[in-house]
């Protein structure tokens, strides 16, 4: 009985370490994670958000979004965002009314602050949504940017 349990644990341990090795090897061979085509080609904001892994998020005022209230040129809209939620490991930017709402997804490591500054295209007036992952939970915040000339051609 005891013997059986022992050999069972042994084999389970062997399988366990095998999968650990496999999971370590995987990201090493592909330097960056594969481009999330599904999320980037999703047309509905809700689909883009869930396909990017930011679904079921709690609204949080600790995510600061800096963007103009009115953008004269939708082709270039400066957006920067800071997450003051401790343990933020990644951040995604969505422009909800764009033909492809997911703009970018960022992963922070080795001391990089939960801050991103970039410039996005906006087809028309829309909510700009920033979602983050922190401690296994998702948080989100949004802010409206009015666009007078669209910049997406779509």
């Amino acid at each position: 009985m005891n013997q059986l349990r022992r050999s069972f644990l042994k084999s389970a341990g062997a399988i366990g370490s095998f999968t650990i090795i496999a999971s370590i090897l995987k990201p090493a061979t592909a330097i960056a994670a594969a481009w999330n085509k599904l999320a980037f080609t999703s047309k509905e904001p809700a689909d883009a958000i869930s396909n990017a892994g930011y679904g079921g998020a709690t609204e949080s005022g600790d995510i600061m979004i800096k963007a103009p209230d009115i953008a004269e040129n939708g082709a270039v809209v400066p957006v920067s965002a800071t997450s003051n939620i401790p343990g933020t490991t990644s951040m995604a930017i969505f422009v909800e009314k764009n033909p492809a709402p997911l703009i970018a997804d960022f992963k922070f490591s080795n001391g990089t602050e939960a801050y991103i500054s970039t410039r996005v295209k906006m087809a028309k007036t829309s909510l700009v949504r920033v979602s983050v992952k922190a401690n296994g939970k998702n948080y989100t915040n949004s802010r409206e940017v009015k666009v007078t000339i669209g910049g997406c051609g779509g």
Partner: protein, 104 residues
């Protein structure tokens, strides 16, 4: 294509403020060429990795919604002047864009 990327990194306290500018059309694939009336195929940077002294500090995936000639700003805590920041970007056709700067 080294000249396609401009970078600057300056210390603010113990945080390195990094700014990156890459020359790229970032074509969405939905716009028509005004002369030929044909769709301009999608051509955009979709992956960006930044390292500090060889250690990954930021990994990004981009879609077509990043503006033409992309700008990226980020901040790395615990960096010091003299550290090396490198950025490697790849577009959807596999073209590579690399840049490196010493933190001032």
């Amino acid at each position: 294509m080294a000249e396609a990327m401009k970078m600057r990194a300056t210390m603010e306290g113990n945080v390195a403020d990094v700014k990156v500018l890459i020359q790229h059309p970032m074509d969405t694939g939905t716009m028509k060429d005004s002369k030929t009336d044909k769709l301009i195929p999608a051509f955009f940077i979709n992956q960006v990795v930044a390292t500090l002294n060889g250690k990954t500090v930021l990994e990004a995936q981009w879609g077509v919604g990043i503006a033409k000639n992309p700008f990226l700003g980020f901040r790395v805590n615990g960096a010091k002047s003299g550290d090396k920041v490198a950025v490697n970007a790849v577009d959807n056709l596999g073209n590579k864009y690399d840049g490196e700067v010493v933190v001032a």
